[in-house]
């Protein structure tokens, strides 16, 4: 299949105009030594029918897991039909970064609305126009904290998603920053006494996830009191944004920077991406936030319109002095999140969150009924860690018999018999019962 629209005659006319006799002449400035001599070994081209058949063959190697109790940073939620309908508009998805505002008001207004809706949901003053994913948002948040406070010590709660810990380590290693970890207590929450101890010395920021990797809701207000005893910032990470349907907004609790993964808002699991990174802060740190920001203004005739703003923070203007190297972000998925939130509305997002809470707590009740032990006793939203008397291979096998995928082993914490389950509005009660049943057996 080809997407080149020229007729052979047109190509010949153009070559004649350029005074060349062969298309090869267009590449005569490339040294022969580096030119490809023989056809590269790629599969032969396919027509539309051919690619459909081929992809069907490849997908037949997959098994579609329809009962999903997996979370840990990516969540199985309802995606209303409105989301895809809007994302399928070619005017949106085939456009580029809105450098020319006259031709990009649709995207610019949508991003402004995205920033507004996300700010309203969390209480932030500033939301940028999105990042790659939650993990890189958190990395940028940490570097923001370092720029603001200029201290070379970073505190991280150990209950932070291990993937995110790994990403932070990668980015921090070449920089002169020391990481220290704060442990969690038996209830799965940050050890506040240890935090008190560790905050006696200077540090730039504390990174806390809530609900944390174990699903447990942290006492952000208490944590913030301790952090603010020193001249430092509190960075919160949220990977399950649906929790905000019932939980207090982070900025109301004193958070300085919020990094989040908003895949829960209308974005399919898609085997890990693309997702949606959120980065938010307070007014006072606006100059330090990286990434695109859309602002309201007026045009020559005084008409309200939108433009990318505070551009001097960005790489294409400021080069090595930019706040980050980010250029491409995740505009289309930002629209997905906006359409999701506008579709379910204020009551809908609350109701979905309540049902997540209810279903996961029903699962907890059933676990306790059947004599299973919960690893942590702290309050949780929709994820729960269970002690199970078998290895992860045995668990996987048991669950696969009933077509369930769930139970992420907490190997990262050397807690070999603890497994993380997520329960959302998509898991029916009979699926929860089926899960309980298969855990009970043998």
């Amino acid at each position: 299949m080809k997407f080149i629209p020229h007729t052979q005659k047109e190509i010949e006319e153009m070559m004649r105009d350029l005074g060349i006799s062969s298309l090869d002449d267009l590449f005569k400035d490339i040294p022969d030594e580096v030119k490809i001599k023989e056809k590269l070994d790629l599969p032969k081209p396919l027509s539309e029918l051919g690619i459909r058949e081929e992809i069907e063959n490849i997908f037949s190697l997959n098994t579609i897991p329809k009962r999903i109790f997996l979370g840990g940073g990516a969540y199985y939620h309802l995606i209303p039909s409105t989301v895809n309908y809007v994302l399928n508009r070619g005017e949106f998805y085939t456009s580029y970064t809105p450098y020319q505002p006259e031709l990009s008001q649709g995207m610019l207004q949508a991003l402004f609305e995205f920033q507004s809706v996300l700010s309203d949901l969390t209480g932030a003053d500033i939301t940028n126009a999105s990042m790659y994913d939650g993990a890189t948002s958190l990395m940028e948040a940490v570097f923001m904290g370092e720029r603001v406070k200029n201290k070379k010590r970073l505190l991280i709660a150990r209950s932070l998603n291990p993937e995110y810990q790994e990403v932070l380590k990668t980015y921090i290693k070449p920089r002169d920053i020391k990481i220290e970890f704060i442990d969690f207590k038996e209830d799965g929450r940050v050890d506040l006494n240890q935090l008190e101890e560790k905050t006696k010395e200077d540090f730039s920021s504390l990174v806390v996830q809530s609900p944390n990797y174990f699903g447990i809701i942290e006492d952000i207000e208490e944590i913030n009191k301790i952090v603010k005893k020193r001249d430092a910032l509190l960075i919160q990470l949220i990977t399950e944004m649906m929790s905000l349907g019932i939980l207090k907004s982070p900025f109301e609790l004193g958070v300085d920077i919020l990094a989040a993964e908003a895949q829960s808002f209308g974005i399919p699991l898609s085997f890990g991406g693309p997702y949606l990174g959120i980065l938010q802060t307070k007014k006072e740190f606006v100059r330090e936030i990286p990434g695109r920001i859309v602002g309201e203004t007026v045009d020559r005739n005084g008409k309200r319109c939108f433009v990318m703003t505070l551009r001097t923070r960005e790489q294409d203007i400021r080069r090595e002095k930019a706040k980050s190297n980010i250029c491409t972000n995740n505009s289309l998925n930002a629209i997905a999140a906006l359409v999701f939130l506008a579709t379910v509305g204020p009551k809908g997002v609350k109701k979905i969150a309540e049902i997540n809470y209810k279903k996961s707590h029903y699962f907890k009740k059933r676990l306790i009924d059947e004599g299973f032990n919960l690893t942590f006793k702290g309050p949780f939203f929709n994820e729960i860690v269970v002690d199970l008397p078998f290895t992860d291979n045995v668990l996987k096998e048991k669950l696969s018999l009933v077509g369930i995928e769930g139970g992420i082993p907490l190997k990262y914490y050397a807690m070999d018999n603890s497994y993380l389950f997520s329960v959302t509005e998509m898991n029916r009660r009979e699926d929860i019962e089926l899960l309980i049943c298969s855990l009970k057996e043998g």
Partner: protein, 471 residues
């Protein structure tokens, strides 16, 4: 256009969802609960009309010619969109057992192989989620390599025509950036020799460069760097200029990133999501981020390289973007990809030849995927390049990239791509010539452009000063 908030009224939204838990569940402690949620309350029909109206105020490749230089705004095949939106993907959690996802892993493994072949590299990671993210990843791999060898190198050399992401990515690693002046729009081997020493970490090079020129001294450049033990990084933003004709790996590049949302036709989505896989030569293989996809007798699984730098983002990369690029490669095959660069280069040279008289820059030579013209001769009429760009909109086209690269005064950077036919190019060329006449005869019409768009010249200063970033 009204904002969502302005069409919101309490009680309009009728969204509902079933609840099948009938027993009493104890509530969360009051102190954690919010009292209100402030979101727009609108009906579904109003919502759809709102977003359709917004989409009409936006211009994409599906609307018309979009010759934004260095962005490769080619047509995005619809079959790829359809396949990537299959209902099945909503079930594929990234942490499902690999037995479930063999087909998806096969696609990723084959993609690693295809990119190795096309770029002439020895291994690829698909994890980076954009070009700049790939740049960071490539440099981070090199950093780990030098660190491992106990070599302290901190200088990154860039030509003055480099993309802004290059210096910014270097800074994120705490590296020092040294810019060298180009000669005839290309890297000058003599100047390069003067700055390369034992402290040099790498040269980052875009090839074809941002002027659209193939760096003709690439092999000399490689020798200069190698002689001091420094590495060569390839910014693959412009690979559309020679894909299927030449390979960065054969030019001596040690690490490369490719922008799947440019050369490999995945849509730009209004600024993302993208994908920026990174390829390396054998000696850097062990440092790649994990996980990589391996294949043993048609069983696909994840692996972790021995000295991996760790992870640079969550999970394995932007899978559905990777899938679309995979489909594109399968649809075109080698000959199709070669034709892509042939026609992209034909188109760029055609535009340059037809317009160089009207918008002359200091350079005139064979270009690859894009050409850079200049509006500087019109300064005398009080017309700036931004005015020309705005006037182009009145003729129904998206303007080119302007004021970049910095080494061309009043730059107009035009990248037509291979998916625009001669008729479209001719219409664009005619429009550009007409604008040059307008400037001479009636410059006010250009200075006041655009005349035909709904919004005209937003006040960017006001946006900056009176920062309003939410309703």
């Amino acid at each position: 256009m009204e904002l969502l908030k302005e069409i919101s009224k309490e009680g309009k939204n009728k969204f509902d969802i079933e609840d099948d838990i009938y027993i009493e569940i104890e509530n969360l402690e009051e102190k954690y609960l919010r009292s209100e949620i402030n979101l727009p309350d609108i009906s579904e029909v109003d919502l759809i009309r709102h977003f359709i109206s917004l989409s009409k105020e936006n211009y994409g490749v599906d609307n018309g010619f979009y010759p934004l230089g260095s962005c490769t705004m080619k047509y995005n095949p619809k079959i790829n969109e359809e396949i990537a939106k299959k209902e099945d993907f909503k079930y594929f959690h990234p942490l499902i057992s690999i037995e479930y996802s063999q087909g998806l892993l096969k696609i990723m493994w084959e993609m690693q192989e295809f990119l190795k072949i096309l770029a002439g590299m020895d291994a690829f990671t698909l994890q980076p989620k954009a070009g700049a993210h790939g740049e960071y990843t490539g440099l981070r791999i090199m950093w780990e390599y030098f660190n491992d060898k106990g070599e302290k190198r901190n200088k990154v050399i860039l030509p003055d025509s480099a993309h802004g992401t290059n210096p910014a990515s270097s800074s994120m690693l705490g590296l020092e950036v040294i810019e060298i002046e180009s000669k005839d729009g290309m890297v000058d081997p003599e100047k390069l020799s003067e700055v390369v020493d034992e402290k040099t970490f790498a040269l980052m090079l875009t090839n074809p460069n941002t002027l659209g020129f193939f760096e003709k001294d690439i092999l000399k450049i490689k020798e200069i760097l190698k002689s001091k033990g420094a590495l060569l990084y390839y910014d693959g933003a412009n690979l559309n200029g020679f894909i299927g004709i030449a390979r960065p790996g054969d030019m001596g590049f040690d690490a490369v990133h490719l922008n799947l949302h440019k050369t490999f036709s995945t849509p730009h989505g209004g600024g993302g999501p993208g994908s920026g896989p990174v390829g390396v030569k054998e000696f850097l293989k062990d440092y790649l981020p994990y996980p990589l996809i391996e294949n043993e007798e048609e069983f696909y699984y994840f692996s972790k390289p021995a000295k991996s730098i760790g992870k640079v983002g969550s999970f394995f990369g932007n899978f559905s973007v990777i899938l679309k690029a995979y489909l594109y490669i399968r649809e075109l095959g080698f000959d199709g990809l070669k034709e892509v660069s042939q026609i992209a280069v034909l188109n760029a040279n055609y535009i340059k030849e037809k317009l160089k008289k009207y918008y002359p820059s200091q350079f005139d030579r064979l270009v690859k995927h894009e050409c850079v013209l200049s509006g500087k001769i019109y300064k005398d009429y009080g017309v700036k390049t931004v005015d020309i760009a705005k006037r182009i909109m009145d003729y129904g086209f998206h303007p080119p990239t302007i004021y970049f690269p910095h080494i061309v005064d009043e730059a107009l950077m035009i990248e037509p791509t291979e998916t625009e036919n001669k008729e479209t190019l001719d219409k664009f060329i005619d429009a550009m010539i007409k604008i040059s006449e307008e400037i001479k005869n009636n410059p006010e019409i250009v200075k006041n452009a655009p005349l035909n768009t709904k919004i005209k010249r937003p006040d960017e200063l006001k946006a900056n000063k009176e920062l309003k970033v939410k309703w």
